[in-house]
């Protein structure tokens, strides 16, 4: 199975002309403004387009077609109703700058979403504007900095981040003009408190933490961590990417966090769309509430309205041209209404049940669990260090061998500190039958790896392409199609060595 590029399907002069305006008026623009060469866009029929992109879609693994236990990503089922109702014309055709008087339906949903998010986190207020987790982090760290600056405490420019943290955490700290201090993880998976105590000081702006961590364990010392940070004058940022594990069990605010984001595209089942869009709504306790990014939905006597600079003068400002990924927010709202209080409380129950079940079954099957003495949160780590050593079969080989069995690979090589690891997150929407199937596939691969391992190294063979040459991709950079005529014999070659 392979598919030409859409450009290669085309012919000069072909078009899907039912999609055009029927006429083209003369424009009278001065020539200096006008394009002389048409852009390289496909010249194809509507059938060409439909056939091409339908076929391409079939070349993807997805939740709708495959089990997708990608750790840290929470690939749970995206209820189809969320898409249908968020796509009602009243929502999709609403202009972002429509007057509030013709926006009450939309604002009602967003206000209620803010309220529900407060309830599931214990935070005092939410801003819905961040467009992904990383932007939520940026908002949060910017708020922490603004808070310190607002108090005249301008020397606090260090952000502490565990070594196991997601890459967005340190990257965000840098974007906010902070320096990053790494705190190591202890052998049991918890943060090393002793080192932490040494790291903090008058330069500490705060710490970024997710709990349960990206190692799949709940840090039992969270209260002690809080004390250390708060005592040092820093604030605590909660990376809510792993909220799925504790929904209805613990409130981040009660763990002592001052600000947090939630990945609605993880815990609240909005789709990942092949890489986005997401939403990284940001919540704050009383301390940081004045600094939330604008706009926020507030109430008036007549209904709802946008709160802006005038209402929130200490706000860190605006993070998106309008108000963030509205369509994603609506999907999360619908999802929460569908599940309700009782359904949300069940999410963590079954996410954690599934993770612990798979962990136990894999251990029984002979896999090395990274934290064998800990409960799995909604995810857990397996390491294939032993297999790599003995037969050269790596975590990557396991990942690819799973693809051949119709299962998307778990997250590989993350967190970076665990060698040859797979981070496995089944989510609550997968059934025992699917999990058993996964365990069986893993066991089969383990057996293969234990014999020769050759088969794993060849995998995948059932996918549209076999294992790809990533080095060549970076060395001989080919990031756009160039039609043969204008090609001059080569793509951009050696533009960058990675």
């Amino acid at each position: 199975m392979s598919e030409l590029l859409i450009f290669e399907r085309g012919q000069p002069g072909r078009s899907a002309s039912a999609q055009f305006p029927r006429h083209e008026s003369a424009h009278e623009l001065p020539a200096q403004f006008v394009r002389s060469e048409p852009p390289l866009l496909p010249e194809v029929s509507e059938l060409d387009v439909v056939r091409h992109y339908t076929r391409l879609s079939q070349m993807n693994f997805s939740i709708d077609t495959h089990f997708y236990p990608l750790g840290s990503c929470t690939m749970k089922y995206n209820p189809r109703g969320c898409n249908s109702f968020a796509s009602l014309p009243g929502f999709t055709q609403r202009h972002p700058l429509a007057p509030e008087s013709s926006s009450q339906g939309f604002l009602t949903c967003l206000f209620e979403l803010q309220e529900m998010l407060k309830s599931v986190t214990g935070m005092a207020a939410f801003s819905l504007t961040p467009m992904a987790g990383a932007q939520g982090e940026l908002a949060g760290v910017a708020m922490i900095r603004a808070y310190h600056v607002d108090r005249g405490d301008i020397g606090r420019t260090e952000i502490i981040v565990p070594d196991a943290a997601h890459g967005t955490n340190p990257a965000t700290a840098t974007m906010c003009g902070c320096t990053v201090k790494e705190v190591p993880t202890r052998a049991d998976g918890d943060v090393n408190l002793d080192v932490l105590r040494e790291l903090v000081g008058s330069q500490t702006a705060g710490i970024m933490l997710t709990n349960p961590s990206t190692l799949g364990v709940f840090d039992k010392n969270i209260k002690a961590i809080e004390e250390v940070i708060h005592a040092a004058g820093g604030l605590l940022y909660y990376d809510g990417a792993n909220l799925n594990a504790i929904l209805g069990k613990v409130l981040p605010a009660e763990m002592g966090f001052d600000v947090m984001h939630i990945n609605l595209h993880k815990t609240f089942a909005t789709p990942h769309g092949g890489g986005g869009p997401g939403s990284g709504v940001v919540g704050a306790g009383e301390t940081l509430k004045p600094f939330l990014p604008i706009p926020v939905v507030g109430t008036t006597a007549n209904g709802y309205r946008w709160l802006d600079e005038a209402d929130l003068p200490k706000s860190i400002g605006r993070l998106s041209a309008f108000m963030g990924n509205a369509g994603v927010l609506l999907r999360a709202y619908i999802y929460m209404r569908l599940l309700g209080r009782e359904g949300l409380e069940r999410v963590a129950d079954y996410a954690v049940l599934n993770a612990n079940y798979v962990m136990v079954q894999l251990r029984k099957a002979g896999f090395d669990i990274v934290f064998p003495d800990r409960r799995a949160s909604h995810e857990f780590l397996v390491t294939l260090k032993r297999q790599t050593k003995s037969k050269g079969v790596t975590a990557m080989d396991f990942a690819k061998a799973l693809l051949d069995r119709g299962i998307h690979a778990p997250t590989t090589y993350f967190p970076l500190l665990v060698p040859e690891c797979l981070l496995i997150e089944p989510t609550e929407t997968e059934s025992k039958q699917t999990l058993d199937h996964f365990v069986a596939a893993m066991t089969e691969i383990l057996a293969e790896a234990a014999s020769s391992g050759a088969q794993c190294k060849d995998a995948p063979v059932t996918t549209p392409v076999k294992r790809l040459d990533d080095v060549r991709a970076a060395r001989q950079l080919d990031v756009r199609y160039q039609p043969p005529e204008t090609d001059g014999g080569a793509q951009i070659v050696n533009a960058a060595a990675d």
């Binding site: 879609s57 890459g167 309008f322 309700g340 049940l353």
Partner: protein, 458 residues
């Protein structure tokens, strides 16, 4: 249990295998004092049917017949095929294509997208999207600062004619990296950036210059002069453009003597619905030499073991998951699905269709402006040529007219005075190819009527 497939029997077997009595035991590492109560702030579950009724009621409240708003979000015809394909489960419910062999569909779409955007903007390389147009401008600014190592000032010139929200976002995101944004005023007659004011910065250390085309007033800037001046100063040009306009307008890669090396903007007009402001997507393209400072994902074509062509994420060492605190940006999740929609949109439109959409939108706005100018007291605020938006100066308060026209089912435009106090009574209006001559007539009729009424009342 909605969306949870466990039968009691399954759960029992699983608990047995784990060796605990109940699910609650699995949370035994969480300190008791931290365990919370019920989520009382969330209402109890309702069925899909009930949610559907609720949402329909809310959506119906906000429906409007005729929309003449622009200002960064534009109504265009979206071919039916675009979203029928985009919401196919295999696109919709997939993750970021980290496992390339299992994600060739998404990867090829992005490669095609990169090709289209690079060509549309006259550049070599396009990333796989950023959050939206405003954050793309912020990222472009940060990128320009990283690229232009010769400049030490971290000063970036930003015309006042850049959408105020874009300026605000750029400020919020770049604030803590000690970047100085210097505003350049617009000429109150032409609506273009005041080139004299720009030139007054000559000789100072300028890191980058932002060049909007069209600007927030819909006005076409003198981009060649702009670009050449920036190059002369050793400043990097950053073009901020509307992608539909590039069906007709000269691409930034061809502005001035050398072209502008970084281009960004809002992708929404390319097949993404208005949707209250998002999800949209930001695009960012650049010259080949700058690729290593490009933020965001990038897809490259390579070969598999058998030498067969295939696609994969590449140059990942720029990104946060590899380079962590030294990454080009913290962006991880981007706006992938919107890119899929835009790629399908551009495929359906093609070069001819895109030009027609641009030309028709331009023509409709011209037509509207001309007809509105026949109303006593209404006149275009600016003299320079515009693309598909125009600022009308009314003889009465714009806000009042807007509210009255809304009651007639018309979103009349945006009252500019909240952004530009000096532009009192000014209305920013947009008409795209979606407006018929009858729609324009309806608009102008209503406008005349409401101005009349407002005058009579005052």
């Amino acid at each position: 249990m909605p969306f949870i497939p466990h039968t009691d029997h399954d759960t029992q077997l699983m608990l047995q295998a784990i060796g605990v009595d109940d699910i609650n035991s699995l949370f035994d590492e969480i300190p008791d004092e931290l365990r919370c109560g019920k989520l009382m702030g969330v209402p109890t579950a309702i069925s899909e049917y009930e949610v559907g009724r609720l949402m329909r009621r809310q959506a119906d409240k906000d429906r409007v017949e005729l929309n003449f708003l622009g200002a960064g979000a534009y109504e265009h015809h979206i071919p039916a095929a675009v979203w029928e394909l985009t919401t196919r489960g295999e696109f919709y419910s997939a993750y970021t294509p980290y496992q390339a062999e299992a994600s060739q569909g998404t990867l090829q779409v992005i490669y095609e997208y990169q090709t289209m955007m690079a060509s549309l903007t006259g550049q070599d390389v396009s990333n796989a999207s950023l959050y939206d147009g405003a954050s793309a401008l912020a990222e472009a600014t940060l990128m320009a600062v990283r690229v232009n190592r010769a400049s030490k000032s971290r000063r970036v010139l930003i015309p006042q004619s850049v959408h105020p929200h874009y300026a605000a976002v750029t400020k919020a995101i770049t604030a803590s990296q000690s970047i100085e944004l210097v505003q350049i005023p617009y000429d109150p007659n032409s609506g273009q950036t005041d080139l004299a004011a720009l030139r007054s910065h000559a000789g100072t250390d300028i890191t980058a210059v932002i060049i909007p085309q069209p600007n927030v007033f819909g006005v076409l800037e003198q981009v060649d002069e702009f670009a050449d001046w920036a190059a002369d100063q050793g400043a990097l040009g950053i073009a901020l453009v509307n992608p539909i306009s590039l069906g007709l307008l000269r691409p930034p890669g061809e502005w001035g003597r050398e072209g502008v090396p970084i281009v960004c903007g809002e992708g929404q007009p390319l097949g993404v619905p208005l949707s209250s402001g998002g999800p949209y997507f930001g695009f960012l393209t650049c010259r080949e030499a700058l690729v290593r400072q490009l933020p965001g994902r990038l897809v490259g074509r390579t070969v598999d073991r058998d030498g067969k062509l295939g696609f994969t994420l590449t140059l990942q060492a720029r990104e946060q998951h590899i380079r962590r605190s030294r990454a080009t940006s913290n962006i991880c999740t981007n706006q992938g699905l919107m890119v899929t929609a835009a790629t399908i949109y551009m495929s359906l439109l093609g070069p001819q269709g895109l030009r027609r959409v641009a030309a028709e939108s331009h023509a409709k706005t011209r037509g509207l402006a001309a007809a509105a100018a026949m109303i006593d007291g209404v006149e275009p605020a600016f003299t320079a040529p515009h693309f598909h938006e125009v600022v009308l100066r009314l003889p009465v308060r714009a806000g009042a007219v807007i509210e009255k026209m809304r009651r007639q089912g018309i979103l009349a435009g945006i009252a500019l005075s909240s952004w530009y106090p000096e532009l009192e009574n000014c209305l920013l209006v947009c008409a795209t190819e979606t407006k018929t001559d009858a729609d324009l007539h309806t608009y102008v009729q209503a406008l005349g009527q409401q101005i009349e009424a407002s005058r009579a009342a005052s």
